[in-house]
Amino acid sequence: MRTFYSMVDSTLGTPQPEQLSLCRSKAKKEDGEIVFYGAEEIMCIQSQPFIISKLKKTPGITDVVFFAFAQFCYGEKFNFKLLKKIVQDGIGVHFAREDMSFMTVDDIERDFLLLSAYFHSFQRRLNRGSQLIT
């Protein structure tokens, strides 16, 4: 049984219980369960500097499930460095809304093009002027 740390997205209007429900489903799908519930500090969402130390300090964590991949896209750059660092530290990274999992560096590098294109598209969405519907 894998043990998950969960990180909901503080910026979304989606209620946290709904986010957690999806995170739990994702953990279950990956043969695990959430044993620690984390929350982002809104001032730090661009870089999430706390996550590595949180994961290291929490005993027995094998995986972390984020609600949305967007949690790596709130800065000026795609926070690829952090994503890769977590996986390099031996922690599986999962995204509940997108139903995506990265267990190895190869997984991340294989999907880099898709993730990068999403980041650029997401940045365009943050710039509401470019949207047909906002």
Binding site: F78, L132, I133
Partner: protein, 263 residues
């Protein structure tokens, strides 16, 4: 200036849709056979029958089952089919000669494919709607029937001019849905789409289906494709799409970007 690609009918640029023939018919035949076998097994039919004949006549095998039973078996079959058959790849390959000019070399495909079985008299046709702008307007819908479709057995859609007129009507009469529906259906076309072809249309067109009043069942799939770098709609690109094709240039660019992000 509108530049037509070599591969796509000029209709697509003037009307927003085109009916195109498969450029890899063997691939399409393989897909239909695969779906047919799953459906035949799920409903206890002879898998050695002619797929076209059996799919057209599919409603006759459902007569002893309740609507709930039919739906339950159908949903199980669709789940199995979706898990076993790579629809996005097979449909793209079957029509690649037509699609690649529209989409370019870097292509995203919808993760899930919608399989629709519409027997005669089915009271739940698809409601009139547009996919974009909630979906990306730089996206296409590929509608592939596995039987010949015509009259009420096919779907209906409004071309670009009729869609513009319909939007004008809706803007002036936002509360009058019945009037809007009648306005649209008067202007809709119901394209004859034989098996072996696909209806490809722009996501910004109004479309839907009527109650199938023909004597045959419609079995079709629909799936969406867009360019990897085209703006997305409100739907989360990572949630709904997967990468299907990438060009050497995109891969080189991504490798450079990855190195820069790790500095």
């Amino acid at each position: 200036m509108v530049v037509a690609t070599d591969s796509m009918s000029p209709d697509f640029f003037s009307k927003g849709y085109a009916i195109v023939e498969a450029t890899d018919r063997d691939c399409l035949d393989g897909l239909r056979l695969g779906i047919f076998k799953y459906l035949a097994e799920a409903f206890g039919l002879d898998v050695d029958q002619d797929p076209e004949e059996c799919l057209n006549d599919f409603h006759s095998y459902l007569s002893g089952l309740s609507a709930t039973e039919v739906n339950s078996i159908r949903m199980d079959a669709i789940r199995k089919i979706s898990g076993e058959i790579d629809f996005s790849e097979m449909i793209f390959r079957a029509f690649e000669g037509q699609l690649s000019g529209l989409l370019g070399p870097d292509v995203l495909a919808q993760k899930t494919c919608n399989i629709v079985i519409q027997p005669p008299g089915d009271p739940n046709p698809s409601e009139l709607h547009r996919d974009a702008p909630l979906n990306s307007p730089y996206e296409i819908v590929v509608w592939v029937p596995f039987v010949d479709c015509y009259e009420t057995k096919t779907m209906y859609l409004l071309d670009t001019d009729a869609t513009d007129a319909a939007l004008g009507f809706l803007g002036e009469n936002p509360e009058d849905w019945d009037g809007f529906e009648a306005f649209c259906k008067q202007r809709a076309i119901r394209p004859r789409v034989p098996y072996g072809s696909a209806l490809i249309f722009f996501t910004g067109l109004f479309h839907g289906s009527d109650i199938n009043q023909e004597a045959e069942t419609r079995v079709s799939v629909n799936i969406r494709y867009k360019n990897l770098f085209a703006p997305s709609g409100l739907k989360n690109q990572l949630q709904f799409f997967k990468l299907l094709r990438s060009s050497p240039l995109a891969r080189l660019g991504a490798a450079l970007e990855e190195r820069e992000l790790l500095k």
